[in-house]
Symmetry: C2
Subunit: 214 residues, 2 copies
């Protein structure tokens, strides 16, 4: 992609701020299908994300078979029951009321792995911070998330899940590590506030308290 660098103006930046502000972790999807080409185009864009040593360690697995989806669903049920049991009193009751995933309805389910066995990148930057390999995959997921939202698509990241069990259920190579399990589809509703804030689980921190100077 040669050519002159694009100039981004204030109207683009304002729309980008809106995009970030209206991105949500979506758990309530309609049943409407999502074109396979749209998902492919999102993966292609996500693959332009930064990676340590230009390792490009992201591997995307579309989970379509009912057998695989059932295994993931069961993993969620186990992990969620264990999590619920660790809370007490009001917090436990609140946790039980939360909707934490959209596994039953999301038309697209995308497991994203880091290929720890790949030689791409030749370990550059990975001796001092080996975790940067995983971080590279996370950056690609955030790119995909924003690009999906720009198409009106919702995405939810399910982390209440057993990563090794899900990796085995999906029959991926042994050196692929599960970074994220994503539900994707058309959202039933739109919000600027996170569901966990709206339902009283946690409050937003003031951004100016999160920065300091040395």
């Amino acid at each position: 992609m040669p050519g002159d660098p694009p100039v981004f103006d204030e109207s683009f930046r304002a729309a980008l701020r809106d995009l970030v502000a209206w991105r949500r972790d979506v758990r309530r999807f309609t049943a409407a299908p999502v074109p396979r080409e749209l998902i492919a185009s999102l993966v292609e864009l996500a693959s332009l994300s930064p990676s340590v040593g230009f390792s490009q360690p992201w591997r995307f697995v579309l989970v379509e078979s009912q057998h695989c989806r059932d295994a993931v669903r069961q993993s969620f049920e186990r992990a969620n029951a264990e999590a619920l049991a660790a809370y007490d009193g009001e917090r436990r009751a609140l946790y039980a009321r939360l909707k934490l995933e959209g596994l039953d309805v999301a038309p697209v389910q995308l497991a994203v792995f880091a290929d720890e066995g790949a030689e791409t990148g030749r370990e550059l930057g990975m001796r001092s911070m080996p975790e940067a390999l995983h971080y590279s995959v996370v950056g690609a997921i955030q790119t995909l998330w924003l690009a999906a939202r720009a198409h009106g698509l919702g995405l939810g990241w399910v982390s209440i899940i057993e990563p090794e069990i899900v990796a085995r259920a999906l029959s991926v190579p042994a050196d692929w590590r599960l970074i994220a399990y994503l539900c994707i589809g058309w959202p039933q509703e739109e919000h600027t506030d996170p569901e966990l804030e709206r339902h009283g689980w946690e409050e937003r921190l003031a951004a100016d308290k999160l920065i300091s100077v040395r």
Copy 2:
């Protein structure tokens, strides 16, 4: 931020694709200063990124003192010498020729941590995937990276560094874990191809090879 959800059109999506395609890991900066308010606005936007359990674990430290910058620079020198020593032959010569950071000239240096001691999020999603706390910080960094580029600002992620030593040098709380050390400034040049690709370190993988179906 209430109101109707914004509608993102094809011209916005095309500009977003350009933004992702022209985002680079920048190591060559001009000496021109970057307004502090611009950095604050980027941090504010990044803080709208997703986080596991709405934990918002990101902590941003602007590294301004020469004393701290020198300590980081020395940590890079050590980690880089160790990395160089692990390569042989042509690969070693190539590594030695690469420019891997812009620590000497970047007007802004931003260390980004995950606060592992924070109770926000109340462990939701973190029992099954505790690493999701770190991943949340990485997502915020990717948001910041794209937003910076939309202002014409370049960002470089230095991972050839000793995370614990840098954390100590910056006197952050003991339960803050270094996720990234970022150099930020106005880039000297613009490219669509990564520097590591341009200089023959690694080639780009075909995106359609990175997706499979189960």
